[in-house]
Symmetry: C2
Subunit: 195 residues, 2 copies
């Protein structure tokens, strides 16, 4: 498989097998996150690997409370998208996935701590896919509960939870249609004739 | 080469050979950007491929003006880092690289347009590396001049310029030391005993 194949075949996974992933394999996934480029080489990312069942339960409970609130207040366009995609405040993957990777960024690492942390997340997602694992980028609308539950220092902002495990579903590409390349790329100036 | 090898060997490149890259090859690099995941599948990224010499000259001129200003006002820690890394307001790679990829994000694509755009950039950087091209993630501290020069609509915010070309330098890994994995990964709770 080429890198483009890995990118093309990767899908967000919401259903996971119970089977645990060996920690060694997860560390290899996180090694990818370590290798991402970052603004001024600050490497502002931190990864908290959550495998404890009770902790996953607590995370799910808090996340679902946050989501209920968020769904209630979401703009109409987002509400419609949620509905179309079957996304509800229920986050069963948080307890069903054998492991959760909580990603936090060190907010005092200037410049570009957020941007760098998301590049690191992209590296992690790709490496996980290349090892055959399913992941999902779940971004709770408020992540302060994670600071509390996981004792993450307040200078670190949790930005995403990545459940990871063996996929128990195979979402079709059609559920996430892609814009064609020619609508995304311009030559020299926007609106210019393209390729 | 495995994906981890590509990640491990990738370095920011500041010196490029004059040789042009075939546009077809650059489109393959940008195809990777197209395939990144995004918040609510909004795919908020736009890529402007700049190969026109005069336009590159203008971009360099404006960027260096912005940088002179930025360096003057930078906090001391960043100034020291710039000095140590030999980074000055001079951005010769903007005219020396055969092509520049300007990345802009659609700011009205809620949620997470910025985060998504940076995941797309990470995909582009990796794909470029896997095709043997050098790139650099250059983030001008103010990017409004790019809107003007490249006729980028004001709802799109340019976030980075990625020069791309055949590398004319081979930076040593030691210039960018990496934090060890065990300092970045925690198990279940921060500060817990690790692996």
């Amino acid at each position: 498989m080429t890198l483009l194949d890995v990118m093309r075949n990767r899908r967000s996974i919401r259903k996971y097998k119970k089977q645990q992933i060996p920690v060694k394999e997860i560390l290899q996934v996180l090694e990818a996150g370590r290798l991402a480029p970052s603004g001024a080489n600050q490497q502002p990312w931190t990864y908290i690997l959550v495998t404890d069942s009770e902790l996953k339960q607590e995370i799910r409970k808090e996340a679902e409370m946050v989501e209920k609130n968020f769904h209630r207040k979401a703009p109409k366009s987002l509400k419609n998208w949620f509905k179309k995609q079957g996304i509800t405040p229920q986050k069963s993957f948080l307890t069903e996935a054998p492991a959760l990777i909580v990603v936090a960024g060190y907010t005092k690492a200037t410049p570009y701590w957020l941007e760098s942390t998301w590049m690191s997340i992209a590296y992690v997602l790709l490496q996980a896919a290349s090892q055959g694992f399913g992941t999902l980028t779940y971004t709770p609308s408020d992540t302060r509960f994670l600071n509390k539950l996981l004792k993450i220092p307040k200078d670190y902002k949790p930005v995403a939870i990545l459940p990871i495990g063996y996929p128990a579903e195979k979402p079709s590409p059609e559920t996430r249609p892609r814009k064609p390349l020619e609508t995304l790329v311009h030559r020299n100036k926007c609106g210019s004739i393209r390729f």
